[in-house]
Amino acid sequence: MSLLEVKDLKTYFYTDAGVGKAVDGVTFSLDKGKVLGIVGESGCGKSVTSLSIMRLVDPTTGRYEGGSILFEGQDILKLPEKEMRKLRGNRISMIFQEPMTSLNPVFTIGYQIEESLILHKGMDKKQARERAVELLELVGIPEAKKRVEEYPHQLSGGMRQRVMIAMALAGDPELLIADEPTTALDVTIQAQILELLKSLQKKLDMSIIIITHDLGVIAEMADEVAVMYAGDIVEKAATRELFDDPKHPYTIGLMNSIPDVEEDVERLRTLEGLVPSLYDMPAGCRFAPRCRFACAECEKQRIRLTELAGGRQVRCRRYEQ
């Protein structure tokens, strides 16, 4: 059985501008100990997908309109809030994009880690402090004993992201969701954080969902990749296969827009056109307006996810048969 199975997830936002279909029928699954990368450009619904798994979508505007999220077979969309809280930060943890603002400035980092340990592990203050120091050592923070007393503003961005990771690990999670964990960091620090995540994943046998717009991060980390576009998964494949042989026109476009270091080019290649508005999605294939293979047929109705050989999936009419 898969650790996580997301089936036809629909997360919509109801605002004055209308209904925003941020996630519209996303389906994927993740096995224990595997790393899934979700890649896509800003606004494609990758962050909302991850927040939906944590059930942290802003309840004042967001609704889970359909589908299910099975965590070890249990539908977490149906769990009462109290049960959900027992999963959050415990068996499912999340780290965020902005380490600079994701830690509470008025509490010590030790306190913030211990809070999780006391909550989920039932430790007392002293045990929690010892474990917090261990966790800080685990994520490679030097002088952890001293650092545990420090406040977030005393740490660099990379260090803060390590603290976030330590905090996420406090509950020994089976699933770690990393939402753009390296986007806000310097390139050298990015590499260190990815390295750390990879080694922790092996050491602790966690499953990770890594969300990014950076194909480099995917290549580095993921076993499998889901490419999202405008609230849909348009292609899913093992990482190697996706890079070697992208099928969906959008994925092909993404791959082509990666500049080649060997090549001397005047202009970078881009994908023409814009992402459709959440509030006004094309009826047919959502990529059709930007697709050079599009035909009248593409714009008529939504395209199904087609299963190809080797478990690959692609949402494109050209592969339907």
Binding site: R85, E98, T101, N104, V106, F107, Y151
Partner: protein, 319 residues
């Protein structure tokens, strides 16, 4: 911290010096003069001249200021031109009553204002939020003398729950708890009047600050940890949202002392405010200068206290 406090106290010296200049010269600009309060139709111009010379009022203004300042640094605030009593003694006599009133109002505004603001923020756009918003607009816009007289009319004259004015009856012979409760009945209405607009201000501030804080990334982190909404709000968000509220803390101190003039007059409360109002009527320049100076020092200390409080709430501020 100790070094910071010493530094701030030293910085306060030139500020107080500046205040003495303002106090003295603004007083001098006021029409009339210390003697106009004592003139009767029978006063001769010779005796007026004698009195002027006796008080040094015939000397150049800068010399008068110098004389005043010289006495001031020795702790002599001068003597009332009205009744000849020592200014400092009169102020100190009235100080406890004013402190009781302002501190009560101060504590009340934060103890009531903050929870209401937090409630309003966590129930944003609900009916109770709108209700509290309307209440706060009323609280900010109703003048305190009007509110005070309204309270006196309803609760003192009609319902007879509280006395109309003063601070204790001279006929009362109780002691201990009975005396305390007796005095408390006099305190309720003026303290309420003094705190109303402050409650409203604190509430608005706490509300907007809390709403802003709840949108911060670290609040999402706290939720992602599996903390209950209560822990998220009262532990993670509250402390952060209090940082701007402390600014109000510092600002409300001068407002309270200023407001005491009106409230104490309305309720016949025997404090510094009432002393000030009486001094204005009596053209008692010495008392007014003394009061202004004394209040200014209290406000400076209050602001220092607020600044020190920042460092307790926000670890990024270290002195």
């Amino acid at each position: 911290m100790g070094k910071y406090i010493r530094k701030r106290l030293l910085q306060a010296i030139p500020v107080v010096f500046g205040i003495t200049i303002l106090t003295f010269f603004i007083m001098k600009l006021a029409p009339g003069g210390p003697l106009t309060g004592m003139i009767s139709p029978r006063t001769s111009s010779e005796s007026l001249q004698r009195a002027r010379e006796a008080l040094g009022l015939n000397k150049p203004i800068i010399v008068q200021y110098g004389n005043w300042l010289k006495e001031l640094v020795q702790g002599n605030f001068g003597y009332s031109t009205y009744n000849g009593q020592e200014v400092l003694a009169q102020i100190l006599e009235r100080l406890p009553a004013t402190l009781l009133l302002t501190v009560t109002a101060f504590v009340f505004s934060f103890v009531v204002g903050i929870p209401l603001g937090v409630y309003s923020a966590t129930h944003k756009y609900s009916r109770s939020d709108y209700g509290l918003t309307i209440f706060s607009f009323i609280g900010i816009s109703v003048p305190s003398f009007f509110f005070g007289m309204g309270l006196i009319y309803v609760f003192a004259l009609k319902l007879k729950w509280f006395p109309t004015s003063g601070f204790g009856s001279s006929n009362f012979r109780g002691e201990g708890l009975a005396l305390f409760l007796h005095k408390l009945r006099y305190l309720v209405m003026p303290a309420l009047v003094m705190s109303l607009s402050n409650i409203a201000t604190v509430m608005r501030f706490a509300r907007s600050s809390m709403i802003e804080t709840l949108n911060q990334d670290y609040v999402r982190t706290a939720r992602a940890k599996g903390l209950s909404e209560k822990a998220v709000i009262y532990k993670h968000a509250l402390k952060n949202s209090m940082i701007p509220v402390i600014t109000i803390f510092g600002q409300s101190i001068p407002n309270l002392f200023g407001g005491a003039y009106i409230t104490e007059k309305v309720f016949g409360w025997p404090g510094m405010g009432l002393l000030g109002v009486e001094a204005i009527a009596n053209r008692d320049y010495q008392i007014l200068m003394g009061l202004t100076l004394f209040t200014a020092v209290l406000v400076l200390l209050g602001n220092l206290l607020a600044d020190i409080m920042y460092s307790f709430v926000d670890p990024r501020i270290r002195y």
